[in-house]
Symmetry: C2
Subunit: 342 residues, 2 copies
DNA sequence: CTGAAAGCGCTAACAT
DNA sequence: ATGTTAGCGCTTTCAG
């Protein structure tokens, strides 16, 4: 295996020159740079990453710390989508991404260990394993990090998250623009922060419309995020004195249940009732009709996180927070303009 | 940051002794080892991984090379489940797992690059990006590797895969043991190797039963693996002169379509017809009734791959191949004993 | 059982 | 623009 010495000898220059030429230093003449690169190529020389890492005192690598129990990929594919996005951004910048399992109990120790042992230059955390203890430490210790997802408690860490409130607004605006006036919301339990944020967005949008009262939230259901609860909500909606023109379901499970209930009662979607939900996972795409959704570009969220992390690694002072990715309306078959019956 | 020197000075020994003590060398007295460890602890010493990697000429790390395009996590959560399993096994053995995107076009180059630059000690490949060129190279170059999934062409690489044929046998045996005699198979296209293997397993099992002809394959459908095709197949089955007692669907999409068709025609599952399929993803769990499936423990497949890879890294000579993980029957609500009507 | 010292291959500061 | 050289922090061989 050729080393930098071999290249230097073959090129008749010093190893310093080879190093600089290969790393694109401006102090080496173009001519020389070309020559060195060519010879390195001929010799099949590849810089030894282990030595580079050691000499540079930086590994150009990041680690993604999160819980990776059996079943994680099926239960939370979003996380892996984020990981893919992060890997892509990091790779583009010459960084490597390692994946490491860690639950909330050990996260603080794991993070310290990772940095103390210099195993990585920065850390990506999934919010689900971020504890107050960790947040406090991140505040003190100057560890380059990004938390993916907003921690549920006040903090001074650096996180990025999607704007669920905005997602709600977009869903509501879509329906309002289609002319729907009576809109129902089927949400999760009160503890479900995501559902609540989406609802808040819906309410805010409908309240602030150019012609308020034109579109209004005529009913709000809350229950567990299950298919069964979605069905129940769907049936209750149909029993309403004034039947809504449109339904916003806080997630796929509720949407699936609700759709089944409506169709069971021979209510046509979207002709009789429009239905919109959030995210495509797990069923929105497969349903019949395919559901109009407000989706998060989770891959992009990973990309943003990766880019941000690299910035933080390079400029440890940086103190960004709450960078937020944008939701996107994906119009499919479950929503349509209202048909007014005069 | 304390280094090994600090520990040595503090303990009044040489750095060599510290290194040996901390790495558990037998040549250091227990007393001394304890002392050194305690002092290291006091000083908050953590070995510098970058220096260790360099000195040892091994990074104790593996990389998972596969395509990670946008949407990968939703389209192929199995792969991420495998990754989680692999990470777990590697971590247990002190190895780190990096994730790296690479499509089939560049895989060969990426693999070479990874090893030549010493970025990792071994590589895990996903079969979907393995080309003949790569397989040929792996044959020549003595690169510690495991391919997850059996390559579709003859090869001398080291791979592990699930036994889809056996899965088919298990599905068929389950139905036969429940007393079903007329069994239909709804499969994917002929090109779909997985579906074909499962069918082969079904056929073989039914043929080799203690009482052959007791249970038999009365119909085989093949079509695209879509919900729509599943529905079509379901309706065709119901139109059969002799209606089957049970249906085996080669995958979730076909199963979902088929179930909907049966229920649409007021055929009760499992009371009138039992239904079994493979894997839980993406719907089997959510269907009503929840589907009995023959599942692959993909996480475990990752674990096996990780363990095997470490063995290969340590003993480069090793030439294992075709290590196969076992499928598992998950009995849920869509299958039941046949009710014979006399 | 312990210490001394030779690497590991490259980067980067400094000298020329 | 190029060469020289001092690290980077640890492992491991060899001598004692």
């Amino acid at each position: 295996m050729a080393t930098i010495k071999d290249v230097a000898r073959e090129a008749g220059v010093s190893i310093g020159t080879v190093s600089k030429a290969l790393n694109g230093s401006y102090t080496i003449s173009e001519e020389q740079t070309r020559r060195v690169k060519q010879i390195a190529e001929q010799l099949g020389y590849k810089a030894n990453a282990r030595a580079q890492t050691f000499a540079r005192q930086a590994s150009r690598s990041a680690v993604f710390l999160t819980a990776l129990p059996k079943g994680a990929a099926f239960e939370n594919p979003h996380m892996f989508e984020i990981i893919c996005g992060a890997e892509s951004a990091l790779r583009e910048k010459g960084y490597t991404l390692a994946l490491k399992h860690c639950d909330a109990k050990n996260i603080c120790h794991a993070a310290k260990e990772t940095m103390a042992s210099k195993s990585a230059d920065g850390i990506l955390f999934h919010a689900s394993v971020v504890t107050k203890e960790l947040a406090a430490m991140l505040g003190r210790e100057e560890i380059p990090h990004i938390i993916i997802g907003k921690p549920a408690f006040p903090n001074s860490v650096c996180w990025i998250d999607n704007d669920n409130r905005l997602s709600g607004e977009i869903a509501a605006r879509h329906l309002a623009e289609l002319g729907h006036t009576e809109i129902a919301f089927v949400g999760g339990l009160e503890e479900d922060k995501i559902s609540e944020d989406r609802l808040a967005g819906v309410e805010s949008e409908l309240r602030s419309r150019p012609q308020p009262n034109e579109s209004n939230l005529c009913a709000v259901y809350k229950g567990e995020s299950t298919i069964a609860e979605g069905k129940r909500a769907g049936l209750e909606i149909l029993a309403l004195a004034k039947r809504p023109h449109a339904v916003i379901c806080a997630n796929n499970y509720l949407a699936y249940g609700c759709l089944r209930a409506l169709q069971w009662q021979n209510v046509r979607v979207p002709d009789d009732v429009s239905l919109v939900t959030f995210d495509d996972y797990p069923f929105a795409l497969f349903m019949n009709p395919a559901l109009t959704t407000v989706s998060i570009d989770v891959y992009d969220m990973g990309v943003q996180a990766g880019k941000l992390l690299v910035s933080k690694i390079k400029k440890p002072g940086m103190r960004v927070q709450s960078f937020t990715t944008l939701p996107l309306l994906v119009k499919r078959q479950s929503t349509t303009e209202i048909k007014r019956c005069y």
